[in-house]
C-alpha cells in the first residue's frame, strides 16, 4: 500500500466532509452509541462491584487459608497453627494489605428463652478492623475491645429471636477437639446490624483468645483471611501465598470459595460485550448506509480512479479509511461524553426508590457507577472491529466496480 497511501489518507478525510451534514449525523449516532456502551458498562460494573464486595464481606478476605479438611468438616479438629516462618513472611509483603487469623466453628447459642445454631467467630478486633471485616454497624453497646474480651457481640435479628438484649448473659456451646462439649456463659456487650438479616442471625463475634481458651486449642485458628486490595486481581498474588503455605494447607481465592460470586464477574464481562455488540449492530445499519450512499454518489469518481490506474485494493483501503475516520471521531466524542457524565456520578446515585429490589440482588440503596479503562478499550475495540467489518461490503463492492460502466454512470 506504500504507493498511493498518502493520497488515500487525504482523499478519505476530504471525502468524509463532502456531505458534512450526513457525516455529523452519523458521528452523533456513533458518539451516542459509544456513550451508551460505556455508561451502561460503568453502571453494570458498579452493581457487580457492590454485589461482590457485599458477598466478600461475609467471607471475608480475597484469600483464605484453611486446614485441607476444613471445608469438608469445619470442626475445631481441623484447625491450623497461626502463620509463621515463610507463610508469615509472605503475608507481610505487598500486595497483601491485611490478614487475620480467626476461629470459626459451628456453635449453639442459648438465651433464657431460646437457642439457635450459629457460627461462632473468634476474632482479633484490630486485625479484623484492618481487614475491613467487622460488622457494619454497632447499634447498641460496643464491639470487642481486644482478643481477650470476655463478651459476645450478636446480630440484632438473632438477639430478637433469642429474646435477649444488651447486658444479658447467654450460653455458647461448641465441640472441642476431643468432641466434648465446650461451653461458657458470656454477657452480650454489643448488638450489630448487617445489610442482610441472615448475616445477623448467623454470626456471633467473640474474642479470639477467649474462644481458643474455651475450645482448648491453644493458639490454633480455623482460618486465615488475607486481603490484597483489588478483588479482581486476586489470581495474580494468591499463588505466591499458596506456595508459602505449603502442601499441608489449602489456600483458596474468593472465587473458589464462592463460585456463584465468582461467576458474577464473568457474567458482567459477558453482558457488557453482548450489550456493546447489540448497540453496535443498531449503529451499523446507519454506518453501512452512510458508506453505501457515499459510494453510490461517487461511482464515476471511483471509475475514474480505476481508469487512471489506482488498484482496486487502494480503493478498498480508501473507503475503509473513510469509515475508520468516522469511527475514531465518534469514539473520541463518545468516550469524552462518557467520562464527563460518569465521573460526577461515581460518588453515588440514590436508588432508594427501588431499595427492596436492590437488596434482593445483594446491593445497597446507593449505586456507584465505576468507569473503567478496560470498558472504554472494549467499546473502542468493538466499534473499530465491527465497524470495519460492516464497512467491508460497500468498500469491496466499490473496489469491484467496472471502470467503463462506472465512468458512464450518469
Amino acid at each position: 500500500m506504500a504507493g498511493g497511501s498518502g493520497v488515500i489518507v487525504v482523499l478519505a478525510w476530504r471525502n468524509l466532509w463532502r456531505n458534512y451534514r450526513r457525516t455529523l449525523v452519523m458521528l452523533l449516532a456513533i458518539a451516542t452509541g459509544v456513550w451508551a456502551m460505556i455508561f451502561f458498562s460503568a453502571l453494570m460494573r458498579g452493581m457487580t462491584d457492590q454485589m461482590v464486595l457485599n458477598g466478600l464481606a461475609t467471607l471475608p478476605g480475597e484469600v483464605q487459608i484453611h486446614h485441607r479438611d476444613y471445608r469438608r468438616d469445619p470442626s475445631v479438629a481441623n484447625s491450623i497453627d497461626a502463620p509463621s516462618g515463610e507463610l508469615l513472611a509472605a503475608l507481610q509483603q505487598p500486595p497483601v494489605e491485611a490478614w487475620a487469623g480467626r476461629v470459626r466453628v459451628p456453635a449453639v447459642i442459648a438465651s433464657e428463652r431460646d437457642s439457635r445454631g450459629v457460627t461462632l467467630l473468634g476474632v482479633d478486633p484490630d486485625a479484623e478492623s484492618e481487614l475491613g471485616s467487622l460488622p457494619e454497624q454497632i447499634v447498641q453497646g460496643r464491639f470487642l475491645a481486644d482478643s481477650d474480651d470476655r463478651g459476645l457481640v450478636l446480630g440484632a435479628s438473632l438477639a430478637r429471636k433469642l429474646d435477649t438484649e444488651l447486658g444479658k448473659r447467654v450460653v455458647i456451646m461448641s465441640q472441642d477437639p476431643q468432641n466434648d462439649v465446650a461451653d461458657r456463659g458470656a454477657r452480650v456487650v454489643g448488638i450489630y446490624r448487617a445489610r442482610l438479616a441472615s448475616t445477623e442471625e448467623q454470626y456471633v463475634y467473640a474474642a479470639r483468645n477467649t474462644v481458643q481458651g474455651m475450645l482448648g486449642i491453644g493458639e490454633r485458628v480455623s482460618e486465615v483471611a488475607v486481603s490484597g486490595g483489588d478483588y479482581r486481581r486476586v489470581d495474580e498474588w494468591a499463588p505466591r501465598i499458596a506456595a508459602a503455605a505449603g502442601t499441608q494447607l489449602e489456600v483458596l481465592t474468593w472465587t473458589q470459595l464462592d463460585p456463584f460470586l465468582g461467576s458474577m464477574l464473568a457474567m458482567q464481562d459477558g453482558f457488557t460485550v453482548i450489550m456493546m455488540v447489540i448497540i453496535f449492530l443498531v449503529l451499523s445499519f446507519g454506518l453501512v448506509n452512510t458508506l453505501a450512499m457515499a459510494v453510490f454518489e461517487r461511482v464515476r469518481e471511483i471509475g475514474l480512479m480505476q481508469a487512471l490506474g489506482m488498484r482496486p485494493s487502494l480503493i478498498l483501503y480508501q473507503l475503509l479509511l473513510e469509515s475508520l475516520y468516522l469511527l475514531l471521531l465518534g469514539l473520541a466524542t463518545g468516550n469524552l461524553l462518557a467520562w464527563l457524565t460518569v465521573k460526577p456520578l461515581e460518588s453515588g446515585i440514590d436508588v432508594s426508590g427501588v431499595a427492596e429490589g436492590m437488596e434482593m440482588m445483594g446491593m445497597g440503596t446507593v449505586l456507584y457507577p465505576a468507569l473503567a479503562v478496560e470498558d472504554m478499550l472494549m467499546a473502542t475495540a468493538v466499534v473499530v472491529v465491527l465497524g470495519l467489518l460492516a464497512s467491508l461490503l460497500p468498500a469491496w463492492r466499490a473496489a469491484r466496480l467496472d471502470p467503463v460502466r462506472a465512468l458512464n454512470k450518469t
Binding site: 498511493g4 498518502g6 482523499l11 480505476q306 481508469a307 487512471l308 489506482m310 488498484r311 467503463v404
Partner: protein, 235 residues
Amino acid sequence: MSAIICKELCKTFRQGDEVITGLDRVSLAIDAGEFVCLSGPSGSGKTTLLNAMGGLDTPDSGAISVGEQRLDTMSKSALANLRLNHIGFVFQAYNLIPVLSARENVEFIMQVQGMPAAQRRALADDVLAEVGLAGMEGRLPSELSGGQQQRVAVARAIASKPRLVLADEPTANLDTHSAAQLMELFVALNEERGVTFVISTHDVRVMGYARRLIRMQDGRIVSDQAQQPQGMEPA
C-alpha cells in the same frame, strides 16, 4: 515500432435481449509518435476501441498489444499498473476529483506511483504552467472553467510522461476557442515529446489536427487514411 497493435478485435454488448456490436473484427497498428483521430457517428465503436486500447475493457476475441504487452491476457491488477505507468487518459467530461486542487489532481497519478512529494509537486507545477494554468494550482475543480478543467485533466494525463495518451471526445464540452487551444496543446506535446495520441471524436474541427484519420461505422473500420494536418477548421 508499433505503439498499439489490434488484431481481429470483437466486442459485443447486451442491452436487454438485443446484442449490440461494439467492435467487429477490428485490426490496425499505430506507430509510436503518431497523432491519430478515430471518427465516426455515435455508436460506431470509437470509445469501445479506445477503452480496449487503454485496458479498461477486454475484447471478446482478438488480440491487442500496447508496446510489448498483450492487454487481452493481462490480469486486472496488471492492467491497472499499465494504465498507471504508461497510458494517459483524457475524458469527455473533465473527470477531475472534486475534493482535490488542480495541483493535487495532477499529482494524483504520480502519488499513486509513489513519487516523492517534492519531486511530484515540482513536476505538477511545471506541467500546469505548460498547459497555461500557472497561478491556479491551488484552485478546486469547481473554481475552474470547463476549458481550465480539461487542461488540468490533460496536465494529469501527461505529467507522468506516458508513452500513449488516449482522449475520448476531449473537446465535446468546450467552446471553439478552448477546443482549439486544447488541440494545439496536444499537437505540441506530440511533436515536442513524441507522445502517441489517439483521439476519438465526431467533431470535424478536431479531425483537422490529425495526421491519420480512422473512420469507424457499426464497429468496423471503414477508412484509414494519412492526412495533412490543417488545424481547426470552421464547423
